[in-house]
């Protein structure tokens, strides 16, 4: 087996192997170190001969022994050593567990990484590092922070798990719903950063979007029949399906109204559409992600920008405003309404939102205003708003888009 193939197995199994190991050895760092040891052994053995039938079980087993070795070597824990060793050995009796137990491990890991005791950016970093198995370097690059700073952040987070007693558990029934919302927010944060980056030269980071989708699929499998999960997964699939149409080869933004819809990924759209329906069929009140996905579905289904069902889209935004009101949703609602009632009515709404100060610092507000003013033919004000939008973003392709709009108006 080639190192590349072995690497792929590591990548696929790392999260799940780690999830089980943490439960077995009761410590994040020890589990991670032991898994690295096991990878080193695997790299040597698997290159020479056959890969075991169940590589994950093999990795967990080898790592467990490596963990025991490590504890024995660490004399500083002398007092606790016997207890810990005993625990690891005791836990090991349950290594050949049914699949449901292993699924629970994965959920434990996800809920721990997304624990509300961590700042949102720490939740995202921990999830990408441990659940998705990205390297610290990759996580650092995803956030455009230095590798050392990211390594520090991860070390501190893992310390907090141990020292503050963050439980390695799936939350109890009565707290599950808000905690699950927290997990979904982390996944969506990863996705949005992949869909439109906050800063830098590239509009998208497809690898992050792919990780978020992978997480969404995993969660949907682990916790089936939840409208929020299915809705989020559908939303991500539908947005991501447009990827090839969203930028030129040179990396410039292609707006929805200009996109070649033949470039959209039809297979992924079909999957997204099925999931939206499943999500909306789940009993209980509609989940915000499911409604957002329903909006994305209307875009995905529309034969052209003009033939989009804007009235229904505006209506769905009104539903969203009722179930999870926010100034960002209001802004989106206004933009959709501009396609039904015209830009003047929408501009009134946008100015009302900004007068309330609800979107201070939200960088897309001046961009939406600029677009409405441009469509109304109020050139000077539109130019001014595009300049404000340019100043508000750190993303190069967006700056180029606004510059292009200003140029187009001059002609």
């Amino acid at each position: 087996m080639t190192p590349g193939e072995i690497d792929k197995i590591f990548r696929d199994e790392a999260g799940r192997a780690l999830a089980t190991l943490i439960r077995l050895v009761g410590d994040f760092d020890l589990a991670e170190d032991a898994l690295q040891d096991a990878f080193a052994v695997a790299l040597e053995r698997w290159a020479a001969c056959e890969v075991p039938d169940n590589p994950r079980a093999w990795l967990v087993n080898v790592a467990r022994h490596k963990a025991i070795d490590r504890v024995r070597r660490q004399a500083i824990f002398r007092g606790k050593q016997q207890v810990l060793l005993h625990e690891i050995e005791l836990n090991a009796q349950t290594v050949d567990e049914p699949a449901t137990m292993l699924d629970d491990d994965m959920l434990r890991l996800i809920f721990t990484c997304c624990h509300p005791a961590f700042a949102p950016e720490v939740r995202v970093a921990l999830t990408l590092r441990t659940v998705c198995g990205l390297s610290t370097t990759q996580v650092a690059r995803a956030f455009l922070v230095g590798e050392e700073a990211m390594a520090q952040r991860l070390v501190r987070a893992k310390q907090k798990i141990r020292l503050a007693g963050i439980p390695y558990e799936v939350p109890e029934r009565d707290t599950l719903a808000p905690r699950l919302d927290g997990v979904l927010a982390v996944i969506y944060l990863v996705f949005t950063e992949g869909y439109v980056a906050t800063e830098g030269a590239d509009l998208m980071r497809p690898d992050l979007a792919a990780e978020a989708i992978r997480l969404g699929r995993l969660l949907d499998r682990l916790m089936p029949d939840r409208g929020g999960i299915k809705g989020l997964l559908a939303l991500m699939l539908l947005h991501d399906a447009r990827r090839a149409g969203r930028e030129t080869a040179a990396g410039d933004i292609v707006l929805l109204e200009e996109q070649d819809r033949m470039l959209w990924d039809r297979g992924q759209i079909e999957e997204g559409l099925r999931l939206v329906e499943d999500a909306l069929r789940v009993p209980g009140r509609p989940q915000p992600y499911a409604v957002q996905a329903a909006i994305a579905a209307l875009h995905a289904r529309a034969p052209s920008f003009e033939q989009t069902d804007w009235r229904q889209i505006a209506g769905l935004y009104e539903v969203l405003l009722r179930i999870s009101p926010s100034p960002v949703i209001e802004l989106n609602h206004a933009a959709a309404l501009s396609m039904v009632d015209g830009p003047a009515r929408a501009l009134d709404l946008v100015d009302a939102i900004s007068a309330r100060g609800g979107l201070r610092g939200y960088e897309l507000l001046p961009a939406v205003r600029a677009d409405l003013l441009r469509r109304m033919g109020r050139k000077d004000e539109a130019c001014e708003a595009y300049h404000a939008a340019t100043a508000a973003t750190q993303l190069e392709p967006l700056r180029r888009l606004y510059a292009r709009r200003v140029r187009e108006m001059d002609n």
Binding site: A117, A164, G165, P171
Partner: protein
């Protein structure tokens, strides 16, 4: 695990509340304290006199310096604490959220540093 739940609240605002509200608050504190004693979470707990009574002590180059008032001027001040025993952080957070002052102030939850013997 043991956790210290530190109760931060704006003293100036708390001083302004009327007797009725203050009595209601005291009753809620009493009920809360009794409930965590019953559940075996309670280790210790006290209310502190306001920061106007505080003295801050430092020793620099062998010399003791005292200043009148708290260590730092902040919007909310440490007004009391509970030392609790809880299974994990989730349990501690759940208890912290039931402290009456959590609705007006903030509760900082800190694990106690336990030294290995």
């Amino acid at each position: 695990m043991q956790y210290l739940l530190m109760i931060y609240q704006n003293e100036a605002e708390y001083a302004k509340i009327d007797t009725g509200t203050s009595q209601k608050m005291s009753a809620e504190y009493e009920a809360f304290t009794q409930s965590i004693i019953r559940n075996g979470n309670f280790k210790a707990g006290d209310r502190l006199r306001p920061t106007t009574t505080a003295t801050t002590v430092r020793v620099r180059d062998g010399k003791m310096l005292t200043t009148d008032g708290p260590f730092a001027e902040t919007r909310e001040q440490l007004g009391g604490y509970y030392l609790i025993e809880a299974k994990d952080l989730d349990a501690a957070i759940e208890i912290a959220a039931r402290i009456p002052s959590a609705r007006v102030g903030s509760i900082e939850v800190r694990p106690i540093w336990v030294y290995d013997k």
